[in-house]
């Protein structure tokens, strides 16, 4: 009994360690202005080189652990965002990058904008800025990974189903 307990503990530690050290991202732009997107791309380039933290940008949602969202959610991209989220294997995390992903930013109130990311899918880390500097994006990612490591509670409930706007 005790041995299996210990064994499980070790296994859990290894799992968490691997998870924290190998965050593979997938990026979806649900209506952003590109500003945040190019800064996310910049974090992968030599100056910031996120690969040294284990970050890899993946093309297929099936391979990714962290969904990085930018921009407010527009009507047309809402379903797509949901679908990408559903396609990702568990455990999965979501990071909202930029003010408009968190609150709608400058676009709040525009008619084709449904709202922010956490009205559609649950978000685990928020990175404000318009756009945040690549350093700030890395900082946000590190905060997410720290939360995963320490097991701090991250939001996991689904937001209430949206009213169908149309």
């Amino acid at each position: 009994m005790n041995i299996t307990q210990e064994w499980n503990d070790i296994l859990d530690k290894v799992k968490t360690w691997a998870r924290v050290n190998s965050p593979w991202l997938i990026h979806y732009n649900s209506g952003s202005c590109n500003g945040c997107d190019i800064e996310i791309l910049a974090t992968l380039t030599p100056r910031y080189d996120a690969e040294r933290l284990g970050v890899k940008l993946q093309g297929s949602p099936r391979h990714a652990d962290v969904l990085v969202c930018t921009g407010p959610v527009t009507m047309q991209s809402r379903d797509r965002l949901q679908r990408i989220y559903d396609q990702m294997p568990d455990p999965k995390f979501v990071v909202a990058v930029g003010s408009c992903a968190i609150s709608g930013g400058a676009f709040q109130g525009c008619y084709n904008v449904i709202g922010h990311i956490d009205e559609v899918i649950p978000v685990d880390a928020y990175i404000p800025g318009c756009p945040p500097r690549p350093e700030a994006i890395i900082d946000g990612l590190v905060k997410l990974l720290t939360a995963i490591k320490t097991g701090a509670p991250i939001q996991t409930e689904k937001p209430e189903e949206l009213l169908d706007v149309v």
Binding site: V14, K15, W17, A18, R19, N21, S22, W24, T45, P46, D49, E51, R52, G54, Q58, G59, S60, R62, H63, D65, Q87, P89, D90, P91
Partner: protein, 306 residues
Amino acid sequence: MEAIGNIVSLLFFPGGLFVIFAGLMYEWLDHKIIARSQNRIGPRWFQPIADAIKLLTKEEIVPDGVNPVLFAILPLIALAGALTAALYVPMAGLKPAYSFAGDLIVTVYMLSLLTLSIGLAGANAKERFSLVGSTRALTQLFAYEAPFLLALLGPAIAAGSWQISEIVAYTETHTWMMILQPIGFVVALIGLMGKLELPPFDSPEAETEIVAGALTEYSGRGLAIFHLGKGAELIIGLTLITAFYMGGVSNPVWFLVKTVGLLAVLAALQSLMTRLRIDQTVGMWWRYGALLVLLQWLIIVVVQLV
């Protein structure tokens, strides 16, 4: 006693865990060299290990419409093929675990099993990117397989044997084949890059066109196992080429030095080149690769006759 020996060699050394682990380390080295050549720091040494563990512990989604048995078994076949191949090559500079006349051919085809499984896996997924990816993977297999094999047969002809251990014994005692048969060496090297789908021959998994090619739909465990298979293939391919063309691998130190040197050359080539389109890849292989090797053979035969 022999049975235990067999199991050990299959599961731990030189097959199994050893090849997997070494494959991961070589993969890291490859990424690290590329990163450094791009003026950035690159991944930490345990990166591929963390990636593999993470993938193994993730949820595996079986997409709708696939044959679940095939979906689950193909990665295993791929890995098993690669691990079996490891038994016949002088891994880490030691004697191969098994050896028989003609094991060279078996080894090369065991390695192809990986590509074949990837191709089938893509076709099984019935997703558009996977389908294109698998078509491309199989096309490429068809394109490089012959030149690669022919290039490996060059030293075999010189040694007068198709048994890996005998060829290695021959290359160890003669001038480096790399110098005697330069064309064969180049073709073998490029063939290896094609086999491993490294840039510039990575169009079967060209991210910017078809996402992740045949493996687009794989997640978690399946992806991890394919990944491990690729790593094993990398290290076996490197071993074969160093053993044949670079004066053999008589002990672990030489093995390490030579394979790492070869890997550095591979990494540099990768970072210098633009991805070729699949039609360009195939064209190049048949037009130049195959012809060059035949030319090399001709030279060998003529030299041996004289």
